[in-house]
Point group: C2
Chain length 130, copies 2
DNA sequence: TTCAATATTGATAACTGTTACTATTATTAT
DNA sequence: ATAATAATAGTAACAGTTATCAATATTGAA
């Protein structure tokens, strides 16, 4: 299983995640891909999302929720989860490298990387008046 | 269910998580608590771990693994997961507040908090020579 | 100390997100 | 074409967790 063959299904799945900014779950991808391939199976969606994230084409995001989220952008970047509407926004910036050095200073082992999730209020929710 | 009554089970559970530094899963807590109360049920462990973390007595940690971890220390602090042995260490430091301001600067909404998990190599694994 | 109100429990069933299995189909290199 | 095998659809199995419920324990008041 070291080699890989193309499949209509995988290409449709990739198109769907790369075509959205919403950091969807497998289930959301499944319902979208079914608009293209109506009889695709949920297992196929899971299998390909895993394969694609293992190859580094997409990334898997752990949001601390029941289900995993996926991101069509494989480059490391931060996310903000809106506490009001739940939307996950990107922060378009390079990783904050100094943070690792700061942590390493207070830790007797080594620090390699960090994964950060911000909470906040997205611009839409921010503009709603009560 | 707004009021709360004491229970032997909950107190034993609390003793177990407060008495370890290993950031255990519900299952680990279950097997430890059974040494004190052999016929305690797994559901009771889950119920009380949830209740205690909702009340802020302990905290629930999302490590990006299948099962949730718990921390008897309710104060916000960072964790390092050793990529070699999987151990979760504490970083004993106040949250890095400047990080929120840095993120807010690149985001058009508001930033409230951040949750960070570091990866690295713990001091024991670091000292092993190959 | 008894009693009523109700929070908590143990046992177990149910649920959810995900992975594994298997016979069939599709892709690829020759 | 054909042989090798990766990928699929469909479905069962699985792990972690939550819900259900009758029985038990805790609490405050009489």
């Amino acid at each position: 299983m070291t080699n890989t063959k193309r499949s209509r299904q995988r290409e449709a799945i990739l198109e769907v995640i790369q075509g959205t900014k919403c950091h969807p779950t497998a289930d959301w991808v499944y319902s979208e891909v079914r608009k293209i391939i109506p009889n695709i199976s949920l297992g196929t969606v899971y299998r390909n999302l895993s394969q694609l994230s293992e190859k580094g084409t997409i990334q898997k995001l752990h949001m601390g929720t029941a289900s995993e989220h996926f991101d069509g952008n494989p480059n490391p970047h931060y996310h903000v989860c809106c506490t009001q509407c739940g939307k996950i926004d990107d922060i378009d910036a390079e990783p904050f490298e100094k943070f690792n050095a700061w942590a390493a200073d207070m830790y007797d082992g080594e620090i390699f990387e960090h994964y950060t999730l911000f909470t906040g209020k997205c611009s839409q929710c921010k503009s709603i008046k009560f």
